[in-house]
Structures are given as structure tokens and as C-alpha cells.
């Protein structure tokens, strides 16, 4: 698992991917996204090198583009990635502790979060917080609805929807 962060500029992905390709590495699942001016990369890399060897491969690129690189060993996951079966969207006036409140309730309801992204948007009456979560509900969607109903009573807009892919 290679983690890279640095001030966003054009060419970061290209330079990293080229360096990894030249070193005989294969890229697998990745999340690469700009967060508040910082470009962040998390990518699973399959290669023969150990963590130190991989860091050495990436060092020249990191120095040239001002990036911080970190490599962790990651066990290969057998089979396809787990699929989400519940989607939770939360929005409301931005205030401290929303994520902790929502994530705590979801954890208690048996949800394993697979994907979370959030944003703060400027609304006419102050900042609006938007949180979008996809996860697996180990005990089904019922407990998730109950847990989120309790959160909604605190004045936060919450929607809980099942995810069932159309396969055809």
C-alpha cells in the first residue's frame, strides 16, 4: 500500500504511475483525490520489492514534485472487493462532532464502512456539511435505520437506502 500526499499540481499521477511501471510494479485498487489543495494517493501495488525498495523507486519523483511517500505492507485480498449493501447520506448545518456521532451510531448498528467521503459547502446561511457513506450492514438495514432515526431527531438530515445492484 503506497500512500502519497503533496501540494496539488498537474502531473503527480503520471509521474508516480510511470515510476511504478518502470520498476515493474502493477497498480491495483486506488483512491486518488484532491482534498483542500493537497493531492492524496492511496494505491495497492503488486511488485517483487519490499517496502524499502518501493520507497527507493519513488524517492526521485517525490523529491522532484515535493511529495511525501509512505509504504506499508498489505496482504492481498482473496476474491473480489466487498460490495456495499447500504448507503447513508447525511447533511446539515456544519457543526463539530457530526462524523463522530454518525460513525459511532453506524458502528453500533453493525455497519462496516467501505467508503466515506464528505464535503463542506458554503450555503447562504453558513456552511453545510455533506457526508456520503457506503458500507456493509452485518445485521441488515433495520438496525441502521433505527440508529440513523435517532441521529435525525438531533436535527441532522439523514437518508438510509439499501444498495442492491441491478445485474443484467
Amino acid at each position: 500500500m503506497v500512500t502519497v500526499v503533496g501540494r496539488d499540481r498537474p502531473g503527480i499521477v503520471a509521474a508516480l504511475a510511470q515510476a511504478l511501471f518502470d520498476a515493474g510494479c502493477n497498480l491495483a485498487e486506488a483512491s486518488m483525490i484532491r482534498l483542500a489543495g493537497t493531492f492524496t494517493v492511496m494505491v495497492v501495488v503488486a511488485c517483487e520489492r519490499d517496502a524499502a525498495g518501493l520507497e527507493a523507486v519513488l524517492r526521485p519523483v517525490a523529491e522532484r514534485l515535493g511529495l511525501r511517500v509512505h509504504v506499508d505492507p498489505a496482504a492481498a485480498e482473496p476474491g473480489p472487493a466487498p460490495e456495499p449493501d447500504v448507503r447513508v447520506t447525511v447533511s446539515g448545518a456544519d457543526r463539530a462532532g457530526i462524523v463522530a456521532r454518525v460513525a459511532g451510531a453506524l458502528a453500533e448498528a453493525g455497519v462496516n464502512i467501505l467508503d466515506l467521503e464528505s464535503a463542506v459547502a458554503e450555503g447562504p446561511r453558513g456552511p453545510i456539511y455533506i457526508l456520503h457513506i457506503e458500507g456493509q450492514a452485518a445485521r441488515g438495514i433495520g438496525p441502521v435505520r433505527e440508529a440513523m432515526a435517532a441521529v435525525a431527531r438531533e436535527g441532522i438530515d439523514v437518508s438510509v437506502r439499501p444498495v442492491e445492484p441491478v445485474v443484467g
Binding site: P80, T89, S91, A121, E134, P165, V166, V167, G168
Partner: protein, 167 residues
């Protein structure tokens, strides 16, 4: 009756435009039976299109009755020959997978309510109003007839209709 082999991406036949059925005859109905058997043999499929088995004909089958999320007003088993979606309304993000793209699902924006016109398996013209999950399945299958896979319509996980409306 036979279970037919399913083409998988990147087979180039999945990207071709299928031609209309000229006459719904016994040969077409025999093929429809095979197509349906193939769909039902698959893992939890709610639809199938003829080009997925390499027959470039405008025929799809949809049956969402086995899906937990199926909207209560669904039509059960639908055989659509030369289907045309003539009305669209509303937009929703939903997750899709495909028999031809195994082990991957992704989010796609589709119309929430549609009207589809097609011939049924007797060759009679019919019209269906579909909503929600069923409307999504019909749109996914009709796309196959034009060589379009859900991969061509994937939206970023950051795509969020709530935010779009807010702009």
C-alpha cells in the same frame, strides 16, 4: 432449451449496435427461451440482452421480481423485442453490475421513471411504464442493444444528485 455462453468484456461484440427483429417467429421465440434460461442460470441477474450471448438482435428480457429492492409495481417477466424508451423522468444514482462484467459494480445515473414500447414475444406492440429498480434494469438492458455498457456511464463516487441540484 439451452444455457448459452455469455460474452464478457472486452469482447468487441458487446460494443456493437444490434439490428431490429424483422418478424417474431418460432425461431425468435426459441432463442428467447434460451436467453431466458441463460439469464436464470446466472447469479441473481434481473435482465439479459441478446448481444450478451453474441446474437446482435434487439431483444431483452427483464424480470426484477426476485430482487429485494424491486418496486412493488413491477411487471414481473418482460420480454421486449425492438424496445424503445419513449419517455424519461427524474434522475437517480444506483449501483449496477453486469453478467458481461463479472465481479465489478459501480454507480450509474438513470431515469427514475420511463415508458418503453416494444413488441412482446407474440409480436404484439405493447407499452410499459416502469419505475425505480425496474426502470433501471430496462435502461441497462436497452443500452446493450446500442453497444453501451454500464462501464460507459459510470459516475464518480463524488457524483451526488443532492449536490448537483444544489448548484
Amino acid at each position: 432449451m439451452a444455457v448459452l455462453p455469455i460474452l464478457t468484456y472486452p469482447d468487441p461484440r458487446l460494443k456493437q449496435v444490434s439490428r431490429p427483429v424483422e418478424r417474431v417467429d418460432d425461431a425468435v421465440r426459441a432463442f428467447i427461451a434460451d436467453l431466458e434460461e441463460t439469464m436464470r442460470a446466472g447469479p441473481a441477474a434481473v435482465g439479459i440482452a441478446a448481444p450478451q450471448v453474441g446474437r446482435l438482435l434487439r431483444i431483452v428480457i427483464v424480470d426484477v421480481s426476485g430482487a429485494r429492492r424491486a418496486n412493488p409495481d413491477h411487471h414481473g417477466r418482460m420480454v421486449l423485442v425492438n424496445p424503445e424508451i419513449v419517455e424519461w423522468e427524474g434522475l437517480a444514482v444506483g449501483r449496477e453490475g453486469c453478467l458481461s462484467v463479472p465481479e465489478y459494480t459501480g454507480n450509474v445515473v438513470r431515469a427514475e421513471r420511463i415508458t418503453v414500447r416494444a413488441l412482446d414475444e407474440r409480436g404484439e406492440p405493447r407499452e410499459w411504464r416502469c419505475t425505480g429498480y425496474e426502470a433501471r434494469a430496462v435502461q441497462h438492458e436497452v443500452d446493450h442493444l446500442d453497444g453501451i455498457l454500464f462501464l460507459d456511464r459510470l459516475v464518480s463516487r463524488r457524483t451526488d444528485l443532492f449536490r448537483r441540484r444544489g448548484r
